[in-house]
Symmetry: C2
Subunit: 369 residues, 2 copies
C-alpha cells in the first residue's frame, strides 16, 4: 500500500550538475526551500522529499521520482498543488510526468461521486453507446434564446446539454433566469419525446457566489453542473464534489497555460488530478480537431480517467472537437463507448439543431451497434 | 478613455494562414467559439473580439491586439481569466504579452488597498530605504519553533516576517496556534526594540477556510497576510483585497506553470493582473538567484506593479533570491527604494538569524543613504 505521495519530474540539469545533485536540489526546493544543513536533522527525515528513482535523459535532462510525506499536504488542495508543482514551476524546463497519491489522500479527496456509472444511470436513453454533449451558445444571446437552443438539442436527443463555458452571469442572460428557462426547456422536451437529456449550467463564478449558484441549479432541478476549475481554483472542484450532490463536469479553459512540451504539468497528470478532486466528467480538446493534441495523449488522458485508481470511481472522458457524423464510428472505435463526445460547431453549422442532433445520435448509435 | 478590454497575443499561424485570418480565428475562439455565420449578426457587433492591430512576426508567428466588450467579463474574475487566456491557452505557442482594462473594470477590481504607501506607513522604521522580508521556515517545525524564528527576525529588524508558503495548517504547526504564537513573538520583539516588524501569516487554504483564517489573523493583530493565488484561485485574491482589510502579499508558487518563452501569460501581464486584483505586494523570483529570470524581465514586472494604471495604487515589488549583504547596494540601485527584498537562504546560512538580519538591515540602509 502506497504511503507517500510520489511525483515524477523531468527537468533540466544545471551546468555540470549530476542527476543526483539535480534531484536533491528539486527535493529541497519543493519542501524546505533551504540549502542543506540550514534546518534541524529531524526535518530531513520528516519533511524533505526522498529521491526514489533517477534516470539521466538526453540533452542534459533528468527524470526523478520523488516521494513526499502526506503530512506536507495536510489534506488541503492548495498545498497539494504546492507539493505537486510549486516552486519548481519557476525552474527552467521542468515537467510533472507522473503523480500518485497514497490511499489515505485518495479516500480523503474521494474522486468522482457519480462517475461513468452515475452519469449513465441518469442518461437512460444512451445505454450501450457513447454519450453526446453540446453547449448552448454563444455568449451574448438572451436566456430565452439559449433556452430555445437547449430545447432543440434535447428534442434531438443530445444526452447532456450544457452552458457554454463563456456564459456565466452576464447581463444578457443572468444566471438565475437562464438556468430556470434552460432547465424548463429541457424538461419539457424530455416529457414530449421520452428523452433523458440533462442540462448542466455553468457555475464557474467568484468564490462567494459558488454556493448560491449551486443552490439555484438544484432548485431548478439540474442533476449536474459545469465548472472551469482552472479559472476558479481547483479547490472549488473539491468543494463541488463534496458538497453539491450534483454531477460535476469539468471544462479545460485556461488549463492550456499549464502544459508545454518541456515544462508544466502533463495532460494525463492533470486528468488524474481532476479525477482525484472529484470530476465526474472531464472535457478535453480532442485530437483531429483544431487543437494540437495527439491521439496518443488523448488515450493517456482516457486511461488516467478510467483506469484503476485505488477505490475511486472512473471518470467520463469528454473529448471535444473533431467529431461529426462522419467520424462517429472512428472515435467510438478508438475511445470505446464509455466516452462522451462534446460536439459544437459541426451541429451549429447545419442550421437546424434538432435535426442535426438526431442525425448524430443515430450515427453514434449505429457506430456502437 | 479606454472602453474595451485590450489584449495582445503572440501566436503561431496555421499552415498557409494569413495574419488576418489567424487573428480572426483567435477572436472567434475567445468569444463565440463558433465558426463565422453560426451566430446572429448582432452577436458579431456585441460579442466577437475586434482585431485592433496586427503585425507579422518571424517564424510564421503573428502579434495581434484584440479588444473585447467589458460585458463579456461581467465583473467576475473567472470570466476575466477566460477572456484573457481561456480557449486560446489550448492552441500551440500562444502568449499573452499585453493586457489593458477599461477604467470601469479597474475601478471595479480596485487594485491594491494599501499599496506601497500603505505598507510604508505600517513599517515606520524603514523610511528612505528598501524594505526587507523573510520567511519563517521550514515546514515541519512546531509553532513554538517558528515563533522563535519570527522573534529573532523581528529583533534583527526585518520589516515583514511572513510564513513560508509551504506552511499552511499542517499538524506540526496548526494555523491558529502558529499565528497566535508568531504574532505575539513579533509584537514582543517590537516592544523591546522599538521595531515596526509586521508578521504576515499564510492564509492560503481551501475555499471554505479562507474566511476563518483571515478572521484568526485579524484577531491575532496581524496587519497583513500572505496568499498563493495560483494555488487558491485568483478570485480569492480579489476577495481578500475587498473584504479582509489587511495588506495582501502574493506568493508566486505554481505560477511558473503559466509562463514559457512562446506560450502562456507573460510575467509583466501576470504582475499587472495581480495588481488589478488587489495585491499590495507581489513576490517574484529575482534575476541573479537560482531561477531563470532576466533582470530586464524583473524591471518589466516592477513597471507593471509601480507604473501608472488608471487610478490604482502602485503595488510593492518583492523580488526574492539573489540578495545578500554584498548585493544590497547593487539591487537597491537597480530597483530603487520602493522595493521589498525577500531574503531567505543567505540569512539562514549564517546561523544567528538576529545578527544576520541586523547586518542586512544596516547594509540596505547604507546602500540607500
Amino acid at each position: 500500500m502506497r504511503e507517500r505521495i510520489r511525483i515524477t519530474y523531468e527537468f533540466a540539469l544545471a551546468e555540470g550538475e549530476s542527476p543526483e545533485a539535480g534531484a536533491r536540489r528539486i527535493a529541497l526546493e519543493q519542501t524546505v526551500e533551504l540549502p542543506d544543513g540550514c534546518y534541524p536533522d529531524r526535518i530531513e527525515e520528516a519533511v524533505v522529499a526522498r529521491v526514489e528513482e533517477l534516470e539521466a535523459l538526453a540533452e542534459n535532462r533528468c527524470r526523478a521520482a520523488l516521494s513526499f510525506a502526506p503530512a506536507l499536504v495536510g489534506n488541503e488542495v492548495p498545498q497539494l498543488l504546492n507539493v505537486l508543482f510549486g516552486m519548481v514551476s519557476l525552474l527552467p524546463a521542468t515537467r510533472v510526468v507522473e503523480f500518485e497519491l497514497p490511499d489515505g489522500l485518495l479516500r480523503r479527496y474521494g474522486g468522482p461521486r457519480f462517475g461513468i456509472e452515475g452519469i449513465r444511470a441518469a442518461c437512460t436513453n444512451a445505454a450501450g453507446r457513447p454519450l453526446l454533449c453540446t453547449s448552448a451558445k454563444p455568449v451574448g444571446l438572451s436566456a430565452a434564446e439559449l433556452a430555445a437552443i437547449c430545447g432543440a438539442l434535447a428534442r434531438g436527443g443530445i444526452d447532456v446539454v450544457k452552458d457554454d463555458h463563456g456564459v456565466a452571469d452576464q447581463a444578457t442572460a443572468p444566471f438565475a433566469e437562464r438556468v430556470g428557462r434552460c432547465s424548463e426547456a429541457v424538461q419539457r422536451a424530455n416529457e414530449a419525446s421520452g428523452g433523458s437529456t440533462l442540462y448542466f449550467p455553468n457555475v464557474t463564478s467568484p468564490v462567494t457566489e459558488l454556493f448560491d449558484r449551486v443552490a439555484t441549479a438544484k432548485a431548478a432541478g439540474c442533476r449536474g453542473v459545469l465548472v472551469s476549475p482552472f479559472a476558479t481554483g481547483l479547490d472549488t472542484l473539491r468543494w463541488l464534489a463534496e458538497n453539491s450532490g450534483l454531477i460535476v463536469l469539468v471544462h479545460p479553459t485556461f488549463s492550456g497555460a499549464l502544459y508545454h512540451a518541456d515544462h508544466g504539468v502533463s495532460l494525463p497528470v492533470l486528468g488524474r488530478l481532476l479525477r482525484v478532486l472529484g470530476s465526474d466528467g472531464v472535457t478535453y480538446v480532442n485530437a483531429g480537431g483544431r487543437f494540437p493534441v495527439t491521439e496518443q495523449e488523448c488515450h493517456a488522458v482516457n486511461d488516467s480517467l478510467r483506469g484503476p485508481l485505488g477505490s475511486l470511481r472512473p471518470a467520463l472522458p469528454v473529448p471535444g472537437g473533431g467529431m461529426d457524423v462522419d467520424r462517429a464510428a472512428y472515435w467510438t472505435e478508438r475511445y470505446g463507448v464509455d466516452t462522451m463526445f462534446l460536439i459544437g460547431s459541426s451541429l451549429y453549422a447545419q442550421g437546424d439543431l434538432e435535426v442535426a442532433s438526431r442525425r448524430l445520435v443515430d450515427a453514434v448509435t449505429g457506430a456502437a451497434g
